[in-house]
């Protein structure tokens, strides 16, 4: 399921200043040559979200925050096999707490991804900093708040290497197996500009914060498996994360999930009239044993989401559940239900509103938010798009 509300972009008020940023971000070299065999080719894309969230806990003070979340992705294709990819992210470095009243506060800019890639369309190898291919709901769940709990188990901010191999042909969809070895990023890339979150150190502990590549993920991904005229994706993942200095046991993880895209009104004619409609279902379960490297500590996650798109409108419902078991503390049951409605404008701008009810650490809260987002492609393999024809 595409995160069609999250994956959106920006407000008109910021367009002019954003254009300046984009102009700076577009490499000058990108305009200096033409030719299908002219390498490198550069692509840059910027996504900017403006979001206002208001938190109303039942037994505490209200809070509110106006934030920007921006991502600048650059892809440099060195030739038809090698490429380098970078994702710079600007976002608030602190989550919204009761009583907070923040306007564009605590924003830090950091390199979320920076890796080299080799691929021949059947084998794909990545080396560098990237998010691990473990579970998918943490980036696929739709809605303004759909990812709030499941974002926990994203394995981002890691350095390592990954190989992904395509199996067979696409008769029954695209099937791939991937394996990676990694560790937590403790390089300068773990710091951030503006609001500096500081460099991760070995002493900070945590899973995968090891002295070498002692963490591993193995995943099986099936994509676009035809089921009638719908498309099914599913993934099964296993992971082992080496324990940090504060742990006593390696963390073990398993996940299974699917998303199912079912066109309801999908004829060519209806699509062209803007009446395409599709139902998207998503479910995922994740178990983490020896969570954070502590033996006996366990977390279980379960998430389900339904998204309905009709033309420019998108409606999302999500429910997520987290159970934390600790041998020395009472079990905690956190949950979140959310709804969101989004509308895409002709410019690819998406305006969305969301509402969520959460119970976190036994405390009830209501979240209300408005998001305006825009994706801008500033350079699209632009070395082959020279000034002259």
């Amino acid at each position: 399921m595409r995160n069609s509300i999250r994956m959106a972009a920006q407000a008109c008020a910021a367009v002019s200043s954003l254009s300046m940023i984009l102009a700076l971000a577009t490499p000058a070299a990108a305009q200096s040559a033409v030719g299908d065999s002219a390498w490198p080719k550069v692509g840059t894309e910027t996504q900017v979200d403006f979001e206002y969230d208001h938190l109303s806990p039942k037994h505490d003070r209200d809070g509110g925050a106006l934030n920007i979340q921006a991502g600048q992705q650059t892809l440099i294709e060195l030739d038809n096999r090698w490429s380098v990819s970078n994702l710079l992210t600007l976002q608030p470095m602190q989550s919204l707490q009761p009583g907070d009243h923040r306007v564009l506060a605590d924003h830090g800019l950091f390199a979320e991804e920076l890796f080299a890639r080799w691929n021949n369309q059947r084998v794909n190898i990545k080396v560098g900093k990237f998010a691990q291919n473990f579970a998918r709901a943490w980036y696929l769940t739709p809605g303004l708040y759909g990812q709030d709990i499941v974002g926990d188990y994203a394995l981002g901010e890691t350095l390592g290497a990954e190989a992904q191999v395509m199996l067979g042909d696409e008769t029954f969809g695209l099937h791939q197996v991937s394996a990676s070895a990694f560790m937590a990023d403790r390089t300068i890339l773990s710091e951030s500009l503006f609001y500096n979150r500081g460099r991760l150190t070995r002493d900070a502990g945590g899973s995968a914060n090891t002295s070498g590549l002692k963490s591993f993920v193995v995943s099986y991904d099936a994509t676009n498996v035809p089921v009638g005229h719908a498309a099914l994706d599913y993934q099964i993942s296993l992971a082992s994360l080496g324990h940090g200095v504060d742990g006593d046991k390696d963390e073990r993880r398993g996940s299974a999930g699917f998303n199912f895209n079912i066109p309801l009104n999908g004829s060519v004619e209806e699509t062209l009239r803007g009446r395409f409609s599709e139902l998207r279902l998503l479910a995922e379960a994740v178990r983490i044993d020896s969570a954070d490297g502590i033996s006996g500590q366990r977390r279980d996650y379960l998430i389900g989401a339904v998204e309905y798109q009709r033309g420019q409108w998108v409606f999302d419902l999500t429910a997520s559940d987290r159970r934390s078991m600790d041998p020395f503390a009472p079990a905690v049951h956190d949950k979140l239900q959310s709804v969101a409605i989004g509308y895409s404008l002709p410019s690819d701008m998406v305006v969305a509103v969301g509402l969520a009810h959460e119970v976190i650490g036994g405390q009830d809260g209501i979240l209300v938010g408005l998001q305006v987002s825009q994706t801008l492609t500033t350079c699209d393999r632009c070395l082959i798009r020279g000034r002259h024809y």
């Binding site: 033409v34 030719g35 002219a38 294709e77 369309q121 999908g266 699509t271 002709p346 699209d380």
Partner: protein, 505 residues
């Protein structure tokens, strides 16, 4: 001098109207310049060059053939020889594909693998078979990696093989109008954007004109020949208070004309439609807003032309009409429903959000790889599957095909076509006869949304003589060519490399 008052890049941010009003329709619709064959031959030189071109009130940096943004019209007859000398004055490689023709893909034929380097020229010698289907075709740049932008800049034109109206005599007396439908996205200086996106204003034209006037008499019926020569845009055309009678698709007459309120056709598709004048008055021809899916593009509505229905002026002859009750039954060619299939293939269109690349069977185009090898004499059923969240439009060179089913729903025989739009997460089954010895050689099949084609969604097929076998891997047609013209141009990859050294920027 034209003004350069194009709107800024964000003027469609909220879907603001970009249409011209009916009052702007002053200039009559003109046919682009035509070149007609004589004595069985058409010799024409096309110079591809950058020119500042006036389009309505705008002036843009176009790349045109012979300075004509709408594209020169080439008219030939079955059995003629079409000889085109292409001179490349551009700073990029370019070439020409003769879209829809069932002719040789080799050497100086319809060889879209050939790229003509900057400053070079190339002679295309196309022998149109005497039994070739008459109809509306077109020719356009097919330079992989550049095709989208070169086409948007104007490098295309209509190719008419005459005789369509003879096959359906009731059409013969009707006035024929040609519509080369193109679009461009340009900045305030008239330079085309490097990145073509919905937040730029997409301006669509007919024969290079904005909002022309189309005159018709009340009792008149006209044959409108619509050719979508845009890089990426789908059209959904409506005509106020009128219907269209579709009599041809992709150059082939349809067996039974279909009356519709709006016509929809994608990049590279052609439609022949009948339009009746009706009550005197003025009626807007509107390109309605179209979308191509959640991951696709949106094209805002635009007024394209104004049809003015008025009685003939004194001294003017009464134009021919064709009653709506007319029952035309055209010969649409061979129905392959009962043909014996010699093979089945699956073609999967997909894309990768992370890299922005588009795939056929999870591979991007490689000029050295032949994806499909088919012995001459084969009749195959292909399944085209769209695994993306946007429409794709399948096209194969040289060999027209019959659409058998869409998403499992059987389709009645409606003539052979050379393009078909594949629904999102859907499948189209089609049958293709590789039985014509003239098409032996290597050619392409691809998505005709040229953004997708440029980014990889293209593959090669080779139809080979089973007595000889396929060509060795990596070999180009040119290596099989003798004669003085061999080597006058270079394979795509070499030409592209040469272009790099000629940029000088």
């Amino acid at each position: 001098m034209a003004t350069s008052t194009l709107a800024g890049p964000f003027d469609t941010l909220f879907g603001s109207e970009t249409s011209l009003p009916a009052s702007a329709a002053v200039e009559p619709l003109h046919n682009p310049v035509e070149y007609r064959s004589e004595n069985g031959r058409l010799d024409v030189t096309l110079e591809a060059k950058v020119v500042r071109t006036k389009v309505g009130k705008f002036e843009i940096s176009a790349a045109t053939y012979n300075g004509v943004y709408g594209g020169p019209v080439l008219r030939v007859k079955p059995g003629d020889t079409l000889h085109v000398t292409l001179i490349n004055h551009l700073k990029q490689v370019t070439n020409i594909h003769f879209h829809g023709l069932s002719v040789s893909p080799k050497g100086h034929g319809d060889n879209a693998m050939k790229a003509i380097a900057p400053g070079e020229s190339w002679d295309y010698e196309i022998d149109i078979p005497a039994d070739h289907r008459a109809g509306l075709y077109w020719y356009h740049t097919h330079a992989h990696g550049f095709a989208e932008r070169q086409l948007m800049a104007g490098l295309s034109g209509m190719l008419v093989i005459e005789g369509f109206q003879k096959a359906e005599p009731e059409l013969a007396p009707l006035k024929e109008r040609l519509f080369a439908l193109k679009d461009f996205q340009a900045d305030s200086h008239g330079d085309l954007y490097r990145v073509l996106k919905a937040y730029h204003r997409d301006i669509r034209t007919i024969n290079g004109q904005l909002m022309p006037r189309i005159d018709i008499q009340p009792d008149e019926t006209q044959l409108w020949r619509l050719s979508n020569q845009t890089a990426n845009a789908f059209f959904r055309l409506s005509l106020e208070g009128h219907t269209f009678r579709i009599v041809g698709r992709d150059a082939a007459p349809v067996p039974h004309p279909e009356t519709v309120n709006e016509v929809m056709f994608g990049p590279s598709q052609r439609l022949d439609v009948l339009v009746d004048g009706g009550a005197p008055g003025s009626y807007k021809l509107v390109s309605e807003r179209t979308l191509t899916g959640p991951q696709g593009d949106e094209f805002p509505a635009q007024n394209m032309a104004l049809m003015v229905v008025a009685p003939p002026a004194s001294g003017e002859a009464k134009a021919a009409g064709l009653p709506a009750s007319s029952q035309m039954v055209a010969n649409a060619g061979s129905d392959m429903s009962k043909a014996t299939m010699t093979g089945n293939r699956l073609v999967v269109f997909s894309s990768d959000d992370a890299t922005g690349l588009f795939f056929i069977n999870h591979r991007i185009f490689d000029h050295q790889r032949v994806e499909v090898k088919v012995p001459l004499g084969s009749v195959e059923e292909w399944t085209i599957r769209n695994s993306a969240d946007e429409l794709h439009i399948f096209h194969i060179h040289q060999a027209p095909f019959q659409v058998m089913s869409v998403n499992g729903v059987a389709q009645p025989f409606n003539g052979l076509v050379d393009t078909v739009t594949v629904p999102i997460h859907g499948e189209v089954k089609m049958r293709i006869a590789f039985t014509d010895p003239k098409i032996v050689g290597r050619f392409m099949f691809h998505c005709h949304i040229l953004e997708h084609e440029d980014k990889g969604m293209m593959a090669q097929i080779e139809v080979f003589d089973p007595k000889v076998g396929p060509m060795p891997e990596g070999m180009q047609h040119d290596h099989n060519m003798g004669g003085s013209m061999a080597g006058a141009a270079m394979p795509m990859h070499d030409a592209a490399a040469a272009a790099d050294t000629n940029v000088g920027r």
